[in-house]
């Protein structure tokens, strides 16, 4: 190990570790966002049976991101991952208008969970690369985000496919968790 590596290691050793939960319906793009956060290849993604976890290094933070499968039969397991969550990322397929109601209901239920109380919420309005995608403010309105009073929240338009907006989301996470 070189001196530089050693220094870097010591420095990253001081980084704050955050436990981040990545949730949303199936086909919202959670795994693609996870991989794109970790700068990995996103061309071979398969539906998540179970969960994926990755550690992402960002300036001042080590993010441990838990990406849990979104299919209906897996959703009952979401609650097993709530404990000690520092921040919740909720992913929406902005082009799948048929399921806005379903995703909105799931989110509402999540926000009522005791174990997630007060955890900041970042909503990714994903798939903005698609023509049929609803703009982020419309998604926010549909989800009733304006009514949230008990936590910090942010909506971020993004396309995990083109990587647009993902970094901005990461910046918001860093900003929000620094203040905490």
């Amino acid at each position: 190990m070189g001196l530089l590596d050693l220094l870097r290691k010591m420095k990253s050793g001081n980084d704050k570790e955050l436990r981040i939960l990545l949730l949303g319906l199936d086909n919202a793009g959670k795994t693609t966002i996870l991989k794109s956060l970790a700068s990995e290849d996103i061309s071979h993604i398969t539906p998540t049976q179970g969960f994926n976890i990755k550690s992402v290094q960002s300036p001042g933070f080590k993010l441990n991101v838990w990406d849990i499968g979104g299919q209906r039969r897996i959703r009952p397991y979401w609650k097993n991952y709530f404990e000690n969550t520092d921040l919740l990322i909720y992913v929406i397929d902005s082009a799948d208008q048929k399921r806005f109601e379903e995703t909105s209901l799931e989110l509402t239920e999540l926000l009522e969970e005791d174990k997630l109380m007060g955890a900041p919420l970042l909503v990714f309005a994903n798939k903005q690369d698609l023509l049929s995608a609803a703009p982020a403010d419309e998604v926010a309105k549909g989800l009733g985000l304006d009514a949230i009073r008990d936590r910090k929240w942010q909506i971020q338009a993004c396309s995990a496919l083109t990587n647009e907006g993902v970094k901005e989301g990461l910046d918001w996470i860093a900003k929000t968790c620094k203040k905490k």
Partner: protein, 285 residues
């Protein structure tokens, strides 16, 4: 330098030494591939890259370049041709698989739709699919009411492999489907199938499957061979899944990764390995 000494000492070029010292199969073909890849002669180097090679003229040319005299080494030409066949065949297979993977499932394509319907028919012979968009798809392990989004990164390769096992080994696939409904150890049949396609695809891409394909026959591996290997993987995985006694489906990632390591180990440690699929053998779970 080393090659030169060996050549002078044994009177044989490296390719000739490899074919005479190694039994046919992965050991020999991998050694030939390595030798060609590191050759200083561009024609030889090119042979390690091409997807299509006319092997008879290619071997004649190599023999001329390397001064291998057919009368003295009568076995060489055939042995070398088999190796070339396998080496370029593997590359060709990957290209074919890659093209299939990149083909996205499209609801507008009648051929794709037909295949999806066939899949339902093979797995659920007694139950009619009420509508194309239906919650019933989750019964065979898709995530929601329209399977099209589940193919994702595996594209038509995922569907083709699901269809292959259910059409050719219908009894086995139905047996696996029924196991997938186990109350605690259950899993999503189609989603697991697509994930196994992904495991197999990665192994093909990383060249790990050469061991198997170079051992199964003295010819180029075909798409059919690749699909047969998928059936092997599916059956082995299901057995492995139950033997691991996972707590619930959330352990899928861990078990899948362990399974992948096991297969990789098998193919790396013993170069004589063949992943033999036996459809008639009872599913041991």
């Amino acid at each position: 330098m080393w090659k030169w000494i060996l050549r002078k000492w044994t009177g044989k070029c490296e390719l000739l030494r490899i074919t005479s010292e190694n039994p046919k199969g992965a050991k020999r073909s991998k050694a030939i591939e390595r030798s060609l890849k590191h050759s200083n002669i561009s024609i030889l180097k090119q042979l390690s890259k091409d997807e299509i090679i006319d092997v008879i003229p290619a071997s004649e040319e190599v023999m001329k370049i390397k001064d291998v005299i057919a009368e003295i080494h009568p076995q060489f030409a055939y042995c070398f041709q088999v190796c070339l066949c396998q080496i370029c065949g593997y590359k060709r297979l990957f290209a074919e698989v890659e093209e299939m993977r990149k083909t996205q499932y499209s609801s507008e394509n009648p051929d794709h739709e037909e295949k999806l319907m066939q899949l339902w028919g093979f797995l659920m012979p007694d139950i009619k699919l009420e509508t194309r968009i239906s919650k019933q798809w989750t019964d065979i392990g898709f995530q929601g009411d329209d399977p099209k989004t589940d193919f994702r990164g595996m594209g038509m390769l995922g569907l083709n492999q699901l269809l292959y096992i259910s059409s050719k080994y219908t009894a086995l696939s139905r047996q696996i489907l029924s196991k997938s409904h186990h109350p605690t150890l259950g899993f999503s049949y189609a989603i697991v199938g697509i994930n196994l396609t992904s495991v197999l695809y990665e192994l093909l891409k990383k060249q790990t499957l050469r061991t198997h394909f170079y051992n199964i026959k003295d010819d180029k591996p075909s798409l059919h061979d690749f699909h047969e290997l998928y059936c092997y993987m599916f059956k082995e995985f299901v057995t492995f899944w139950f033997s691991e006694k996972p707590k619930d489906i959330m352990e899928f990632g861990r078990v899948r990764d362990k399974f992948r390591r096991k297969i990789k180990q098998k193919l790396k440690e013993d170069l004589t390995t063949i992943l033999k699929f036996d459809a008639d053998e009872e599913l041991a779970v």
